[in-house]
Structures are given as C-alpha cells and as structure tokens.
Symmetry: C2
Subunit: 142 residues, 2 copies
DNA sequence: AATTTAATTGAAAAATATTTTCATTTAGGA
DNA sequence: TCCTAAATGAAAATATTTTTCAATTAAATT
C-alpha cells in the first residue's frame, strides 16, 4: 500500500478515528494522483474498491481529513467543490488548468506585502490564501 | 445616486446591456457597503427597492458583473457564495472575519515568488489568487 | 475466540444553492 | 409611438451538502 495512505491512516488512528474499509478506500483514491478531487469523483472511484461505500461517508471523511489538515479545499474558477492532499501545515497550491494536476509549493514569504497592507488599512491580518493557476510541464507540450 | 452605481451602469450600457429597474436595484445594494454579498442577501435587500425582482435575475446580474470585472467572487472558510465590488482590473481582497467588511488592497508584487515557483515546478503561471483575512480597525475595538 | 460498545455506516429525506425553461414584459433605438 | 431583441420571474430541474436514524462494525476487553 502507498506510504502516504499508511501515514494518513496513522494520523486518523492517533486522532481517535477508526480505520474502516470505507475510509481506506477514500484515502487510496486521494493518493492515486496529485490532483483535485470532487466528492462525487472520489465516491465513484472508491466504490470500485469498496462497493458498499456511500457518498455521505465520502463527505464525512473529507471533512475529517480537512480538520486534520491532510487535505485542503481547492478553489477554482468553476467552483470550490474539490479537495487536494496537503503535505505540511501551511500550504498553497499550484493548479494546472488543463489536466487538474495540483502541486504544492514551498515558501510563501509574504511578510513585506502583509505588513504594508496591514499598515495602510489598519487591519490585523491573521491568515492568507494564495493559489496559482497555470499550465503544468506535461500540458505545455500539448 | 451613488457615483459608483452610475459608473457601473455606464459599464453595463457600453457592454450592450440594458439598464433595467432590477439591475439598478442590485447595483444600489452592492454599493451600500464595502462587504461581501450572497445572492440571497442581495435579493432580499434589493426587493425593498424593486419588489418584482426575482432571485434568478440577481444570479444573472452577478454573473454579468463578474464577467465585466466589476465584482469578484469572495472565497471564505464558510463557503464561496459571495461577491464583492472591485475597483480596478486585477484585485485582491482583505476580509474582516467579524463584520464581513471587504477592503481592496493595492499592489501585489508577487513576481519574485512566482518566478521562483515557476522555475522550481516547470509550470507556466498564468494567474494568482490572494485573499487576506483578519480583523478590521472597527472590530479590533470590540 | 467471543463479547461488548461506541463509532461508523448508507439510504432516504431534507436542506441549500444554482441553473434552465419558457411565456410574458420591457428598455431603448427607430 | 412602434418595434424587437433583450430581459424578466415563476416554476421546475439540477447540483451539492447535511441530517436523521436504524443497522453494522472496528477494535478494545475479556
Ligand atoms: Mn502562505
Ligand atoms: Mn495580485
Ligand atoms: Zn472558493
Ligand atoms: Zn470588521
């Protein structure tokens, strides 16, 4: 089994969640590709491994994974219904508009920007979201 | 009438759209506050000015305003169903988590970051989204 | 291995959000 | 004022997400 699936399972377990066939199937699907997944897609694909799976459980599992910071909602022009795996705590995504591939990128030093905005607006800034869109190497070759 | 409503109307007109009572009511609501608005909120508020207004028309009007770059969808933790006015072309929002106030901020020079990410991933980066969350000056005083 | 039990489950229904359809109305140019 | 394409709202359809609840099950305990 994929190492990432085992790592996720361990995180679930240590947070007090049981490892069920259904949850395992969801994790395995998410580990298949670096991409963003909609609940319905996860459901359809995961049912090949676990036919008894219900869509409700997919939603519930994604909720838990979000809560634990193992996946993150991805916001797209077409809508904000999909989720992508996350490696560390604070994370941003780079999304291919053609194939949907999702790549995390490291290091977002926005401090100068944030400080400037904070000073000019008087806001206390507590969080930032940054998402990049473009074309991945594979899709650049058409 | 608010200057901003007249400016928006002119934009609509010059894009070939008719200025209807319904559209004017929607614009007037959006101009009321620097905030993010959900379609249903716009609908309820705008019906005080134009009782015949339908929710469908609110959705359609927001679509057009998005298309023309006069409003922009705002993405929140709770969901991504609201819209906020935009002054210029490329714009980012700073959102108060307490009162919902939305402030645009100027100048987001992300070039060094984008270039670095582009180099390290091989992606061609075409667009970026940045949203900041925090507490506005008024809400800081509790 | 059998027992126990709280966590988990899926189906169905409900709630919420958005889009489509279509007959009627209307803004705005002629 | 007349004309017409654009715009409209009500209703229905579609899409997404959550709630409810009786049945099942993971896994800790015997
Ligand atoms: Mn960051
Ligand atoms: Mn920018
Ligand atoms: Zn979003
Ligand atoms: Zn505030």
């Amino acid at each position: 089994m994929e190492a990432i699936v085992m790592a996720w399972s361990e995180q679930l377990r240590s947070a007090g969640y049981k490892i069920t066939r259904q949850r395992r199937a969801v994790l395995q699907v998410l580990a298949e590709r670096n991409a963003h997944w909609r609940p319905l897609e996860v459901y359809q694909r995961a049912r090949q491994r676990c036919p008894a799976l219900g869509l409700t459980t997919v939603y519930r599992t994604l909720d838990i994974l979000c809560e634990l910071g193992l996946v993150q909602r991805v916001h797209l022009e077409q809508g904000c219904h999909s989720f992508a795996p996350v490696s560390q705590g604070h994370s941003h995504h780079l999304i291919c508009r053609k194939c949907g591939e999702v790549t995390e990128f490291e290091g977002c030093d926005l401090s100068p920007l944030l400080e400037r905005v904070s000073r000019s607006t008087g806001f206390v800034i507590e969080e930032h979201w940054l998402e990049l869109f473009g074309t991945c190497p594979a899709c650049q070759e058409e």
